[in-house]
């Protein structure tokens, strides 16, 4: 059984501080849904509101269509996996897993059966009598998942559960989590500040900043079609070019960014004369050596010259930093073809990009950058 979760204009305040501001979305039953955002953006508060530890100041949380106001965490069909796992150190692994059944009054035999069944699922067969302190980090992780699944929740909530693991184990657990979700078929709501985790595992992602949900969509749409400047800069690497909007058509916006005239996709939010950002991803920048006299005499749209600041070799790609109009360098990522070409410091290059691959967005939250 899986249930959908609905946030209906949810606002949560602590004193004067607004942790969550008018969050409004619906998570479908059986979906793997992630909240992605930097620390302090309110994603954990949302999770705690769904599990019942925080009350909404305004708005509602609905699980399976039912308003959850006044229903405590122990009465909700949700199970939460804590960031520190919160396993019970004084109980054995099996007792941990069966705790939810114990408090529901199941007898010992039924509890043992269920615990064994779940130990199988998490590949810890026969280790039920160990103490939690005798397990490795990855094993503890899986015990926490089993403990949450034991109560057969309709929604599983995960609060950055992989953050304590080392990199390799973390990548391994991503696939494992996704597999478990497919097997049990319940709704997973996942909190993370790691976009890699969110992009690889989720059906849909909600990107959050400063208590507001910026954009909801699948990995592709969040990465390729950011709706706000924050999403564009937070998800993946991106180069912001600030400028003034010169003209607006249905598909494109033309901006004067100082170093060049920039044409970028129009998302229907900009007006002529407004300050805005054009975002271009590093992999969409094309570099050529020299001042570009070959193609045309005048600097055309989406083309400018910039000197190289540094080159970083990353194996399959090279990252080239270029001096841009702001303090932050412009980064270009070019595939390593093995031709031994170097972009040494000071080298003048011409940068080109397609208007299709650039987006123009209002400055919004990024004004201070």
């Amino acid at each position: 059984m899986s249930a959908d979760v609905e946030l209906d204009h949810l606002t949560i305040r602590f004193g004067d501080f607004t942790a969550v501001n008018d969050a409004h979305l619906k998570i479908e039953g059986g979906e793997f849904f992630s909240f992605l955002g930097p620390s302090g953006c309110g994603k954990t508060t949302i999770l705690r509101a769904i599990s019942g530890f925080n009350d909404p100041t305004e708005g509602k949380v609905r699980i399976g269509g039912k308003d959850m106001r006044g229903i405590g965490p122990n009465k909700r069909q949700t199970a939460l996996i804590f960031q520190n796992l919160a396993l019970f150190p004084l109980m054995t692994v099996a007792e941990n897993i069966a705790f939810g059944l114990e408090v529901r009054g199941l007898n010992k035999l039924a509890r043992r059966d269920k615990a064994n069944q779940l130990l199988d699922l998490i590949a810890l067969k026969g280790q039920g009598d160990k103490l939690v302190s005798e397990l490795s980090g990855g094993q503890r992780q899986r015990v926490a998942i089993a403990r949450a699944l034991a109560v057969e929740p309709e929604v599983l909530l995960l609060d950055e559960p992989l953050s304590a693991l080392d990199l390799k184990l973390r990548q391994h657990m991503r696939t494992e989590l996704r597999e478990i979700q497919k097997r049990v078929g319940i709704t997973f709501i996942y909190i993370t500040h790691d976009q890699g985790e969110a992009l690889t595992m989720s059906d849909r992602i909600a990107v959050m900043s400063a208590g507001r949900i910026q954009q909801v969509g699948d990995g592709n749409s969040v990465y390729d079609h950011p709706q706000t400047a924050f999403v564009a800069s937070f998800v993946g690497e991106n180069n912001p070019l600030m400028g003034k909007v010169l003209s607006v058509s249905t598909e494109f916006v033309t901006m004067d960014c100082g170093i060049a005239k920039v044409r970028a996709r129009n998302l229907g939010k900009l007006k002529v004369g407004e300050e805005a950002y054009a975002f271009v991803r590093p992999e969409n920048l094309k570099l050529s050596v020299g001042a570009g006299e070959g193609e045309g005499s005048l600097p055309s749209e989406n083309s400018f010259t910039a000197p190289v600041l540094a080159e970083a070799f990353e194996g399959s790609v090279k990252l080239i930093s270029l001096r841009g109009p702001s303090k932050k360098p412009i980064i270009a990522s070019i595939p390593n073809t093995g031709d031994g070409q170097h972009f040494s410091q000071g080298l003048l290059t011409t940068v080109n990009f397609d208007a299709e691959q650039a987006v123009a967005l209002p400055i919004g939250d990024l004004a201070d950058e």
Binding site: S51, G52, F53, G72, P73, N74, K75, T78, A79, L80, F82, N84, A86, L87, F88, L90, F99, G100, E102, V103, R104, K130, L131, S133, E134, L135, S136, G137, G138, Q139, R147, A148, A150, V151, K168, L169, H172
Partner: protein
């Protein structure tokens, strides 16, 4: 180099002197317990005897006092541990702004001289008794009861401090995890909090009992017509002195030493168990990486 050695020697000498001061009087007292002189003294040595131990066992007054002390100790444990626990839990839940004032009130008995606690308990119950015209045999004037209450006043605060120290290490998410898994608050209390606090409950109970057992300052006011081992002892020491007191001290020291050694042994065992667990976790880690091919 030489100044370093001199320094070392001086430190060693000081430590020796210090522990001499600590144990010397007790050792000498121990010796007097076996000297046949009728006054507790080391010299002149009039021969080895265990007569003082026998006399001790025949001393009805002392035995009565001991029995009372044990009952009072038990009563104090039964009152102080639950109160201390409640007070400590309250501390974690009370509004932030009231907390310092609350703490000031509940910790004040620790800093109040014992005689004052005894007097205030005595006066309060006496006046309450007068106000309700209680019988003289009633609880208001009962030395045993007053002693239990008087001692519990500050021993509860000791227990609270023990619990607070343990609670400071409690991971709040444990409680939330249990709730989230469907436990009621009462279940969280019994299944998570109490098991976590169990060692503290044990140490608080031991502390409460021992503190009660050897309390004098509060007891001497509240006990009135009754007596405890300590008040009997004080009376005897003031009246005159007999070597059977030394004999009692020898017994107490023997019991304490055994207790301390057992305690140390258990602690050592606990340390070993912890080491073993850490080892197992490390082994599991290695095994996992091996099977995952990382």
């Amino acid at each position: 180099m030489t100044s370093r050695t001199v320094m070392r020697f001086m430190i060693g000498f000081y430590i020796l002197l210090f522990f001499g001061y600590l144990f010397g009087p007790l050792l000498l007292m121990g010796v007097t317990a076996f000297n046949a002189t009728s006054f507790p003294q080391v010299t002149p040595w009039e021969g080895f005897t265990t007569a003082w131990f026998v006399q001790l066992l025949q001393d009805d007054q002392m035995i009565d006092g001991l029995t009372n002390s044990l009952w009072i100790g038990l009563g104090v444990v039964c009152i102080s541990v639950p109160i201390g626990l409640a007070a400590a839990l309250m501390m974690t839940q009370i509004y932030e702004r009231v907390r310092p004032y609350y703490y000031m009130v509940v910790v004040s008995p620790v800093l109040t001289p014992g005689v004052i606690l005894g007097i205030s308990t005595l006066v309060f119950w006496d006046r309450m008794g007068t106000a309700v015209n209680a019988e003289y045999e009633s609880l208001f004037y009962n030395g045993m009861w007053l002693t239990i209450v008087g001692q519990s006043t500050f021993i509860s605060a000791y227990c609270m401090l023990v619990f607070l120290a343990r609670l400071a290490r409690f991971d709040k998410t444990q409680e939330e995890a249990a709730l989230d898994l469907g436990a009621t608050h009462v279940q969280v209390f019994w299944k998570i909090l109490i098991p976590f606090l169990r060692p503290a409950i044990f140490s608080a109970a031991v502390l409460a009992f021992l503190t009660s057992f050897e309390n004098y300052n509060t007891t001497v006011f509240t006990i009135q017509a009754e007596s405890t081992l300590t008040t009997v002892l004080a009376g005897k020491v003031r009246m005159g002195t007999q070597p059977d007191l030394s004999a009692l001290a020898v017994i107490i020291i023997a019991v304490t030493l055994t207790g301390a050694l057992v305690h140390e042994f258990l602690k050592q065992k606990e340390r070993m168990a912890q080491l073993r667990q850490e080892k197992a976790a490390k082994a599991a880690e290695q095994e996992l990486s091996a099977t995952m091919g990382l």
